[in-house]
Point group: C2
Chain length 383, copies 2
Amino acid sequence: MSSVEAAERRYRSPSSELAREVLIHGPILRSVLAQRLGLSLATLTRLARPLLDGGLFVEVTEQLDGAMGRPAKPLDVRADARQFLGVKLTGDTAVAVTTDLRAAERRQAVRPLPSHDLADVVAVIVELAGELANEQEFSAIGISVGGQVSDNRVIDRAPFLGWRGVPLAEAVEAHLAVPVIVENDVVALAAAEHWFGLGRGFSNFAVLTVGAGVGYGLVMHDQVVSTSEAGLGLGGHFPLDPTGPLCFLGHRGCSTAMLTIPSIRAQVEVALGEPVTYAQVLELASAGHPVALAVLRAAGTALGRLIAAVANLAMVEHVVLAGEGLGFLDIVRAEMDAAILADRDPEAAVVDVLLDASGFISWAQGAAAIAIQATMDTLAAGG
Amino acid sequence: MSSVEAAERRYRSPSSELAREVLIHGPILRSVLAQRLGLSLATLTRLARPLLDGGLFVEVTEQLDGAMGRPAKPLDVRADARQFLGVKLTGDTAVAVTTDLRAAERRQAVRPLPSHDLADVVAVIVELAGELANEQEFSAIGISVGGQVSDNRVIDRAPFLGWRGVPLAEAVEAHLAVPVIVENDVVALAAAEHWFGLGRGFSNFAVLTVGAGVGYGLVMHDQVVSTSEAGLGLGGHFPLDPTGPLCFLGHRGCSTAMLTIPSIRAQVEVALGEPVTYAQVLELASAGHPVALAVLRAAGTALGRLIAAVANLAMVEHVVLAGEGLGFLDIVRAEMDAAILADRDPEAAVVDVLLDASGFISWAQGAAAIAIQATMDTLAAGG
DNA sequence: GCATATATTTCTATATTGCAAGTAAAGCAA
DNA sequence: TTGCTTTACTTGCAATATAGAAATATATGC
């Protein structure tokens, strides 16, 4: 099974590889590109010309260095040459962003989902596309969902939506004449961090998300790990604290129980005997309230242990944290750092924890990134 | 750093890729090869001829299927065309095997290390090479060590030997006119399992070893993960049981404390008040002795938890167990399986645990496998 | 035997590549 | 200003690699 997938080495044309390299590594000299791609400068000139002519590439003219010789004209993509739509679906809302070729946000919009019927969800996506449209067409639309996806087109299983075997890409394409790419939300986010975000430049890193749940994605050898395991949220119930609270599945002190917004709220509510919002929990803790502080300190320690476990077992030095439930780090970062150190070999590299503070919108950017990636090959070919 | 490594896409000639594919996937039809490598059959014929002429390949003539048409003549490597030496160094011994091109063991030998002086260790390796030599020359020698290795030549750090910055490959090559390749022991073992062992055919899997210590290796996207992290033994002190014994570093219930031969012996000795061997512990447990059983059951559960953690965080479905300290599995396999299930999402695939029962010798085979891999490129070119 | 089926090889036009030589665009030194 | 030097990139050309098509090899079935 998995060996066959890997054996089908997807052929990538040199043009595609060039386009991808320039997209990811920004303004970059031809000589560097030639080395990276293992091509001669002559070939590079030839490959780059149609992309320059087609308007996808531009030559940057910056004579910053006072060096001698003919000044370099690094290649770069014209980021505004294309526009993409990224949509993240949760159980009750659709969050959309439009982005340029580098997944930089242009506009955003949110709509509630009236139901989990495919037709209703598609209608919301179509409305979002209409609302966010401008004179520039969408080159592709990316949609990300928590759950398992096959072929980048069909949602095999999405617990929050109650979906199994839903042909979402087909359904959206029937309404909008634009290619639609569907992907697991964490896989999409990891891809976005890899190409455009905090993981840029790293061949191996992990992504941990904290919000309504805990998500976990992995990039190894410059490729996102997207096996069927990836869609299952396997980092979501990792045991972290044998004295912690229970999650809804009955795991004591698992990552969901220790870290998610609902669980943190619930713990504080139980202790205080009255309802509180997550923001209020953060305020209380900042003000030194012992219950809120205790809960968040335990969360900080648990997150540190999770990061250390990930670094040890996935053998990564870099961990990107993302999601809307990371506000507590301002308060208990020290606990997290201490927990990482405690579970880490003193000879091992210090884990590089990177914080993506863009909150929920990064999910939608992830969806857009998937659309960008899927489009790059054809862009390089068709201009 | 790591991005540069990955960006230097090591060019592999089509011949090398063909040779590797045939080596790993045994007798294999040209048509299948063409598909896997993304080449036409015409190209395949042309690439295969020099390898057939050079004697590295043979055509298998097996008309097993009664199908119509010209019978296929699958390609295979002549496994006995080359001979390799693999040496595993521990703190006090050198274990060597000779193998064919498929890392199958031919002869083996063990020698104690008289000291940790480089000259003494090299002398032992040279003696082993002489003892195991026959009329066929060694195409390459692989040496594996617990610790960090750079460039496949220099041992940066080997705690068991007390080495730092020792140019082992150079030192051995000075005595034997054969290319020497040095690698971390777990990385080498993972490579061997991937190409020739229980991991054959899997793109993603983990290797866990239990013996004097706990080792952990990872294969992702058909590549062994061999960052600097890989040599550190980061799976060695993974927390598994908050009520377990302490390891020598003071971790309570870590994988070393729960699983290694010395720790299991020590636990039983403390309870019994007298020295016992590991084999005796296994006998006692088999006979129903409560202390030995309790220790081994805890070990089985701990191993299961470790396997589940690895499967969850490294996102692998397959885990290969190897090493000389797995005897207890015969007795407490049920505990291990139960622990895996407990820490695993019910929707996730059942973890496929594969047991490499070849014990200590697989370490030396791993060293040989590294030598084979390093040789394949030149084999394909030079014949 | 002869048609049919399948596997592999040969032939040949085409495409891609790297090398080496050439051109471009700057600084620097008279 | 004019040429020399340095670095960056481009072009011409020969070598190489590739795929597609036609040819060949070797079996089965009638």
